[in-house]
Subunit: 217 residues, 2 copies
């Protein structure tokens, strides 16, 4: 079972690592970090540099595709990158599961996979997702057929575990959860726009709007 | 504020990325992945390869040290590696916080930091931690003075957020939580040995014992 995790300049690290850490222990899983070119790829902070195992052309038909997200300005170039879109479409013709974390769903939508489908994304990107023809939901992990989308950044852990259970059964997935000791105890209950202080939500929404306007100007 | 995350062959990816993703957004934070040598470092699955930004000698006095864990056979060589132990001890003389995730605490203990201190580790490594003179607790994130240790793998997210709150205040840390949408919804409640099915716990304990015996033989 080949699992390809797409890397591109400016991806968000935990988006990729959550699914990686939860899917890699699956029986017979071969996880491959893949990228357009055979060169190290740096994340959205310019801090973390990952080496892809293979180029896209070397992994034409993975069983599972995982597309991590990143800030809009990093995802948008990929939404117009024929090399990435063509690979996604060709791979998707064979996948068992095509998945994304965070704004990775915008890339799935750009490839044409999410038209009329229930899906999710980072909470700040739900409007953009709708603009691309998907039907955003407020759920953390959304299954629609073989398309699985997860909410922002850390939700890839929940997606990976859920998918692991569907693939290898509940006891196996529980074993993965136990070994990564995923018994979350966040010090705050501010992990969604519904739960976080309203002024924080408003602050990030304003910043996002300003950045979007600046990008269009 | 310089934050050094130690890389070594066979570390566990999420151990490093959880704190990275939660501490990097702190004001004036400069996160540096550091390693003994200036060469890419591969994780415990042989799948993920990270490029360190700096060598240990180039980062002598970080404000925060983060030591990720890994399987015992990967951590043990570092517990006897003078380059790593000497760096840890010299750095610790200046740090504001010295931290670990998972079996990274065994390395802190080997460096002599945890003698008589409350600390934690991966649930399968608590006996080993005690054997090194620490006082293991069942908590997920343990503060004892400036030493902060977290439980297995995924607990580094909770540790990072908790530390972010102490450094930059609760609202700032809540903002980090909101932006990584850390509103965990695991599909199972099997993330600790107290909560997981007993047969799973027993299975992993037996495997661990067998591996330990094989290593001693």
């Amino acid at each position: 079972m080949q699992i390809a995790i797409l890397l591109y300049p400016g991806f968000t690290a935990l988006d990729a690592i959550g699914p990686y850490q939860t899917l890699n222990p699956l029986p017979d899983a071969e996880v491959l970090f893949v990228a357009e070119r055979a060169a190290p790829v740096t994340d959205d902070n310019g801090t973390l540099t990952l080496t892809p195992r293979k180029t896209l052309t070397e992994v034409p038909d993975p069983d599972i595709v995982v597309v991590p997200g990143g800030p809009p300005e990093n995802v948008q170039p990929q939404m117009a990158n024929p090399a990435v879109l063509d690979w996604l479409r060709a791979a998707d013709a064979h996948t068992t599961w095509t998945t994304s974390v965070c704004t990775g769903s915008l890339l799935l939508a750009a490839a044409g996979f999410l038209k009329g489908r229930r899906a999710t994304s980072h909470w700040l990107a739900l409007d953009a997702l709708q603009g691309l023809g998907a039907e955003p939901t407020g759920e953390r992990v959304v299954f629609d057929g073989k398309y699985v989308t997860a909410a922002g950044v850390s939700s890839g852990i929940d997606m990976g575990l859920t998918l692991a259970g569907k693939i290898a059964g509940d006891p196996y997935a529980q074993g993965i959860q136990l070994m990564i000791e995923y018994d979350p105890q966040p010090p705050y209950d501010a992990g969604s726009p519904e739960k976080a202080p309203a002024e924080l939500v408003e602050k990030f929404r304003s910043e996002e709007s300003e950045e979007a306007e600046a990008a269009q100007a």
